[in-house]
């Protein structure tokens, strides 16, 4: 080591303290006896000291927080509105459809059978009204159930307002596409019509802080 000058990469490694212990000691001994290498090491140190000084400058970033948060809020509002449009359209269509069905405007071959398995018009309206009052969006309405999504914080109140209905639900991610929602084992069904008010609501299943919404189906 003492015969040859130290390569710059070794000096750089020494500066970052990433040399193996034995090599580190050998390089340090060399620096004590070789003026040229010691000078090179000092220059490296001076260079990096200037870099740190430059990095420590606090440049004026006036309004960066406000402008960024304002854009984030706008984008979020826009996304929420866009997300609710199909649900609102579906609600209107279903209300009209159920209305036509209940007034007999739509011909159904086996009306008694079909009607027996469906939510009645007035019942559908009631369910939809309750859902809307709880900050929920409706994504699907069929003869058997009304499906929607609601923030976790509003779900317990929504369930209590549902009264004697069967409600299946699961926790979902806001951005989870419908095809990824599986109504399998994750479903708990609560609120069977036993003739008694439902008192013990089952705890929500699903884990992860990102699951902040509840997808639910209110059955007949």
């Amino acid at each position: 080591m003492s015969d040859r000058h130290i390569q710059f990469q070794t000096l750089s490694d020494l500066y970052d303290d990433v040399l193996p212990a034995d090599e580190r000691e050998a390089v340090r001994r060399h620096l004590q006896s070789c003026e040229a290498c010691a000078l090179e090491y000092r220059r490296l140190g001076d260079t990096l000291k200037l870099c740190r000084e430059y990095a420590g400058l606090s440049l004026p970033l006036d309004g960066l927080n406000d402008r960024t948060m304002s854009k984030i809020r706008s984008a979020r509002t826009r996304r929420l509105v866009l997300r609710s449009l199909p649900a609102m359209a579906a609600s209107v269509l279903v209300i009209v459809g159920v209305g036509l069905f209940s007034t007999g405007t739509v011909f159904v071959r086996d009306r008694a059978t079909v009607a027996g398995s469906r939510l009645s018009y007035s019942d559908s309206e009631r369910v939809i009204d309750i859902i809307r009052k709880h900050n929920a969006t409706i994504s699907q309405v069929t003869g058997e159930y009304v499906e929607g999504t609601v923030p976790v914080s509003s779900f317990n109140d929504l369930k209590k307002s549902m009264g004697f209905r069967r409600v299946a639900y699961m926790m979902v991610d806001e951005s989870m596409p419908d095809e990824n929602v599986h109504w399998g084992d994750a479903i708990e069904e609560v609120g069977h019509d036993t003739g008694q008010p439902v008192r013990d609501w089952a705890p929500l299943t699903g884990t992860g802080a990102s699951r902040q919404y509840v997808r639910f189906r209110v059955f007949r």
Binding site: C51, Y54, S58
Partner: protein, 192 residues
């Protein structure tokens, strides 16, 4: 996990839980470092401000995809570094300003380098730091990128390898060469 990392995770959980305003804490914590890096790469104050803003918005929108397999800061820097790379690819090296001019009946546009004063000039009081800034900006792309991450941002070799998607030995080589390059330039300018 360090205190800083667990603080980040707590804030992220709050944001994902619906408290969007908590994201201001992330902006506050990382804005200076992010801007320093972006400005070092873009060299235009106003554009660097816009890009810094875009990087934070992109981070917020992608927050659900953060798998927590790495530190949040590493993930954030990856977004920032890639954004800058793409931006630099799409844009020319120098910022140009348009100037209409005319000669006789003929009108034509002149494209000139933008040399307007920027707010940084008022902050950098020491000539030595202006030289450092200029010489960093003149480094070859690969060396400037790694020097900004290592010696300006203070990231570890491992973090840099993760952010840039290169091997640890490659990180070391680039750091050595970048430092040597800068040291020689500062020596030539009489600064060291």
């Amino acid at each position: 996990m360090s205190n800083s990392d667990s603080e980040d995770i707590q804030v992220i959980d709050r944001v994902l839980g619906g408290d969007v305003e908590a994201f201001t804490q992330i902006i506050d914590k990382y804005k200076d470092k992010a801007f320093n890096y972006i400005y070092g790469q873009i060299k235009d104050y106003d554009e660097a401000m816009d890009i810094t803003q875009e990087v934070f918005i992109m981070t917020m929108e992608a927050l659900r995809s953060f798998r927590r397999e790495s530190k949040f800061s590493t993930w954030f820097y990856s977004i920032m570094v890639n954004y800058c790379k793409n931006y630099r690819k799409k844009n020319s090296r120098y910022n140009l300003v348009s100037m209409n001019s005319s000669r006789g009946d003929e009108e034509y546009d002149l494209q000139l380098p933008d040399e307007r004063e920027n707010p940084e000039e008022e902050v950098i009081m020491k000539e030595s730091l202006r030289i450092v800034r200029d010489e960093i900006s003149k480094l070859p792309d690969d060396y400037r990128e790694i020097l900004l991450l290592r010696d300006i941002q203070g990231l570890s070799y491992n973090e840099i390898a993760g952010i840039l998607g290169i091997s640890l030995s490659n990180v070391k080589v680039r750091i050595h060469r970048g430092r040597e390059f800068l040291k020689n330039r500062l020596l030539a300018r009489g600064l060291i």
